[in-house]
């Protein structure tokens, strides 16, 4: 049977506010255990929440970026459950009236086509702390630094049809929140987390199958693998005549399988009710419009501009706008180098290959954008040949000197002095009588060999166009 996969994602991103969602405690990654846990965060009796305005602004910023409905009135609710990393015994979240309503974002599929994925809602909520499972005389240690950190939970429609689409959607979300500067969205640090709802159904069927939820996957690659593995599992279960149980599962990356989480603790009666320590949040048009006015250029807009302004291909423009840092890097190279297409070739070509090889982000590039721009500029003004530029690039990796100084010092300048080139040409003609004869007999291809000899003699520095021209002139006479 042919199966169709149906996926919905719930993505949590931690908002990069300075302080927590409801308290004035610092909210930074990596602090010593419980040094960012004060009286409210520890749920001491008598403490009360006050909403962080920046968290609300960030949620609205996200909503506007995905063209979502922004709620003028949102309400916080208590979600009740006991867990040692949840100090109050309830999580404050938004159940019925989230700040961000329906929106959408588009992803690019492998064949280059676009697909729009609906976003059901995005709501603001508190993060929980962390349970550490290493040995403390048979006990667990609780670190509440993360407790009360602001999160935005972004819920997609079940419109994702494959693991690849899921990853494309996640990468797009990642890119948007980073463009908006509302989250670091670093999966390895937990500032972006993903729960995946997966179900399968026979192709053509419109009813949804029973879904399972895979919790807390912490890398793009694992999302992809977890979905592949879960889809296979579901197919096997159904094809063996079984039924899918609606349950929460966990992805085991070592074994590349998903396993059901202990069901004893899965009690779904969260007894939501409006948080009485907080009042309804109301925002007006001026609040929203002020945020809209400050929205940065977003990936889709930037990509369109790169195509229009720089004449780049859609693919290159997509690669170059995948992150704001990448786009900024490219634009600097293009500006300094004064040739956008050449700049794009260098950034997506040699530079990207280097980054990939070392598993570096663009922000870790050993060659700064200005230096790469200068390299491009020297190609454009014919100071160096394209071929020499490649070795110049290699030199620049270890040599922090100014690009122009390296060219000067290493004698990499292209030779354009016609007297010097004439000498080279004469020498080649003198040393290659057979080839000269062949050319004169009408075998035009031999010219390439002769040009190559001349270039070799010049150690690559002669301007190949000039060499070509002069050889022709001399051989015709």
């Amino acid at each position: 049977m042919e199966w169709e996969t149906v996926i919905g994602l719930e993505v949590h991103v931690s908002l990069s506010t300075r302080s927590k969602l409801f308290s004035g405690t610092a909210s930074e990654f990596g602090a010593a255990a419980n040094t960012q846990a004060n009286i409210f965060d520890l749920a001491l009796p008598g403490t009360l929440p006050v909403l962080n305005k920046e968290a609300l602004r960030m949620a609205v910023r996200f909503g506007l970026a995905i063209g979502a409905e922004i709620s003028k009135r949102s309400v916080f609710d208590r979600k009740n459950y006991f867990y040692p990393d949840l100090p109050k015994g309830y999580q404050v979240t938004q159940l019925d009236f989230p700040t961000v309503g329906k929106g959408a974002l588009s992803i690019t599929l492998g064949d280059g086509s676009e697909k729009v994925i609906g976003v059901t809602r995005a709501h603001i909520e508190e993060n929980a702390g962390k349970s550490l499972h290493e040995e403390f005389h048979g006990m667990s240690g609780i670190d509440l630094n993360r407790a009360g950190e602001p999160l935005l939970e972004i819920v997609s429609e079940p419109e994702i049809r494959s693991a690849e689409e899921a990853v494309a959607y996640l990468k797009k979300l990642h890119s948007i929140v980073r463009y908006l500067d509302i989250s670091d969205a670093i999966m390895a640090q937990g500032s972006m987390r993903c729960d995946v709802n997966v179900s399968i159904r026979p192709k053509g069927e419109t009813e949804l199958g029973t879904r399972t939820e895979i919790k807390n996957i912490n890398s793009f690659r694992f999302v992809e693998k977890a979905i592949h593995s879960e889809v296979l599992r579901q197919q096997e279960v159904i094809e063996d005549g079984g039924k899918i149980t609606q349950e929460t599962r966990r992805y085991d990356a070592n074994k590349d399988i998903t396993t059901a989480m202990r069901s004893k603790e899965v009690e779904n009666d969260y007894r939501y009710f409006p948080e009485p320590d907080l009042l309804p949040v109301e925002i007006d048009d001026s609040f929203i419009e002020a945020i809209r006015a400050e929205l940065p250029e977003l990936p889709d807009q930037k990509q369109a501009r790169f195509i229009a302004e720089y004449g780049l291909s859609s693919y290159d423009a997509g690669v170059l706008t995948s992150s704001r840092e990448m786009a900024d890097f490219f634009e600097t190279v293009a500006r300094v180098g004064n040739d956008a297409k050449l700049a794009a070739n260098w950034v997506t070509g040699d530079l990207q290959a280097l980054l990939n090889k070392n598993n570096w982000e663009i922000t870790q590039s050993p060659i700064q954008a200005e230096r790469l721009g200068t390299l491009v500029a020297r190609i454009v003004d014919k100071t160096v040949s394209g071929k020499i530029a490649k070795s110049l690039f290699e030199t620049m990796l270890d040599d922090p000197a100014a690009v122009n100084d390296i060219i000067e010092r290493e004698g990499l300048k292209q030779v354009t002095d016609s007297g010097a080139i004439e000498k080279l040409v004469d020498e080649v003609i003198a040393n290659s009588p057979d080839q000269v004869q062949q050319f004169r007999d009408g075998k035009e291809q031999v010219l390439g060999y002769l040009v190559g000899q001349a270039m070799k003699l010049s150690q690559g520095k002669a301007n190949p166009g000039q060499v070509n021209q002069l050889l022709r002139d001399k051989l015709k006479t």
Binding site: I39, L42, A43, L44, P45, G46, T47, L48, P49, V50, L51, R78, N80, F82, P84, P87, K88, G89, Y90, I142, L144, N268, D269, R271, Y272, F273, P276, D277, L278, L279
Partner: protein, 486 residues
């Protein structure tokens, strides 16, 4: 001198007739003498009280004339006090030394008032008799076989027995006003949002409100001047200007329109209390007020709605008591579940557990609409009743409680106990200001008159109460404590 009102003590202090240290010592002595019998205090802070008193005397010597400077008070043990045991009347907080001050405490400290200690209360403020306290019941100074009312029973008894000049309390369904009535003192619940709830251990967040228990409406005004006002730390604290509540105490009641709710003078009200209140009302007529009967048609539903809303909110508010970060933890838990369950079952008393269960049930899947949402709708109807009433009258007056203080153990059935607050609960559901003032004695026991104002009409309520106290001396009556010295 210790029997005097805070206003009178303040005047004596400013005239130099007594020092705060002398006054503080006098109250501490009296606490030493009577607290064992009354059980009004859980914690007495002798050393820090005397240190505060010395500071107050210094401040006064330097010309500081803050009204409550050097006046000794007691805080209900529901308010967090830095460095001082804060139990909320519960075993689960039996070892909790608060690392911070409630805003109310901070404000009184700033005013120069001297904190004598922390008063006994129903556990987590859940009770109307002060019998649910882990620290044992408080005795009514008027008759030690009787309850002082609750949940601020310790504060009410302490004020009535002159163990302090004034005290703080909290009122979720009548917890300031009913004990004030039973103990023959003045107890005032301001409008919801008037006084910060920061540092006040939550029972039911949308109902809880702090207020004074004291010896006169004037004292209530002085204390409200300290307590009221916006607190950025409490989202539900309201950003409204706070008038000087003493400024309007002397306003004439000529032309005042008083509403008597028919529903508060109906079946269930004891004859003695009814007569006492009707007699007291005659005083208002002498002052030029007019009285008319009004209807609060949904009042009878207030107890029902309250016993959904309050337990529901409480069930979540009390989830934080889990034995992880502070407070009691059971011995040798075998696993996490065992730790949660035994900690909470051993740490909470019967009534608290009962209300947690009721609240959990009311919020649980399938019942939310029938209980919680329904109760919130009833709450709207009750609020509307008052809005309509206040379109016709300036204040609503009736009895605070259907009867005088009952004997310990008389109301062992929860439902009977819940109905104790039949006249006060609607005021919390609607968020209004209400005061109980002494209005007579029946069988040697005080009765309380309940005066309710519209939203944020604290000044009016205090004015009406004060004018009554200018004409009567019920608030000056004292229980006889002699002969039962500890």
């Amino acid at each position: 001198m210790i029997e005097q009102t805070a206003a009178e003590l303040s005047a004596a202090l400013s005239r130099g007739e007594v020092s705060s240290v002398e006054l503080t010592q006098a109250y501490l002595d009296r606490i030493g003498k009577y607290n064992e019998a009354l059980n009004a205090f859980i914690t007495v802070c002798e050393e820090s009280a005397l240190a505060q008193a010395r500071q107050a005397d210094d401040r006064r010597a330097r010309g500081d004339a803050s009204p409550l400077l050097g006046v000794p008070l007691a805080h209900k043990d529901i308010f967090c006090t830095e460095g001082v045991l804060t139990t909320c009347g519960s075993k689960i907080l039996n070892n909790f030394i608060s690392p911070y001050d409630a805003t109310v405490v901070e404000r009184f400290n700033g005013s120069g008032a001297v904190m004598l200690g922390k008063t006994n209360m129903d556990e987590f403020a859940m009770g109307s008799s002060n019998e649910t306290s882990f620290f044992g019941p408080v005795r009514n100074p008027w008759d030690r076989e009787r309850v002082p009312g609750g949940s601020s029973g310790g504060s009410a008894a302490a004020v009535a027995a002159d163990l302090c000049a004034m005290a703080t309390g909290t009122d979720t369904g009548g917890s300031i006003r009913q004990p004030a009535a039973f103990c023959g003192i003045t107890g005032f619940k301001p409008s919801y949002g008037r006084v910060s709830r920061w540092g006040m251990i939550a029972f039911a967040s949308s109902l809880d409100q702090a207020g004074p228990l004291c010896k006169s409406a004037e004292d209530a005004a002085l204390m409200s001047n300290v307590m009221a006002g916006l607190d950025p730390k409490d989202s539900t604290s309201i950003d409204l200007p706070v008038p000087d509540y003493t400024a309007s105490l002397g306003d004439s009641l000529e032309g005042l329109k008083i509403g008597l709710p028919r529903q508060h003078f109906a079946e269930g009200l004891s004859a003695g209390v009814e007569q006492g209140i009707r007699d007291a009302l005659a005083e208002f007529e002498k002052l030029g007020a007019t009285i008319k009967e009004i209807d609060l048609p949904n009042n009878h539903l207030s107890v029902s709605a309250y016993y959904v809303v309050a337990p529901a909110e409480a069930s979540a508010n009390l989830s934080r008591f889990d034995g992880v970060r502070y407070g009691y933890r059971c011995e040798d838990p075998v696993d996490l579940e065992d730790m949660y369950k035994r900690t909470r079952s051993e740490g909470f008393g019967e009534e608290v557990k009962r209300r947690i269960l009721v609240g959990t049930y009311a919020l649980s899947a399938g019942y939310y609409d029938a209980y919680y949402r329904k109760a919130q709708k009833i709450r709207r109807l009750i609020k509307q009743d008052f809005v309509e009433a206040f379109s016709e009258v300036d204040v609503v007056i009736g009895p605070t409680s259907p009867h005088t203080a009952f004997t310990l153990g008389a109301k062992s059935d929860p439902v009977t106990m819940y109905l104790e607050d039949i006249y006060t609960i609607a005021v919390n559901l609607a968020g209004l200001p209400g005061i109980s003032i002494p209005a007579g004695l029946v069988g040697g026991l005080p009765i309380g008159m309940h005066i309710v104002g519209s939203d944020f009409a604290e000044a009016k309520v205090l004015n009406v109460a004060h004018q009554f106290q200018q004409q009567t001396d019920w608030h000056r009556r004292k229980p006889a404590l002699n002969g039962e010295e500890a």
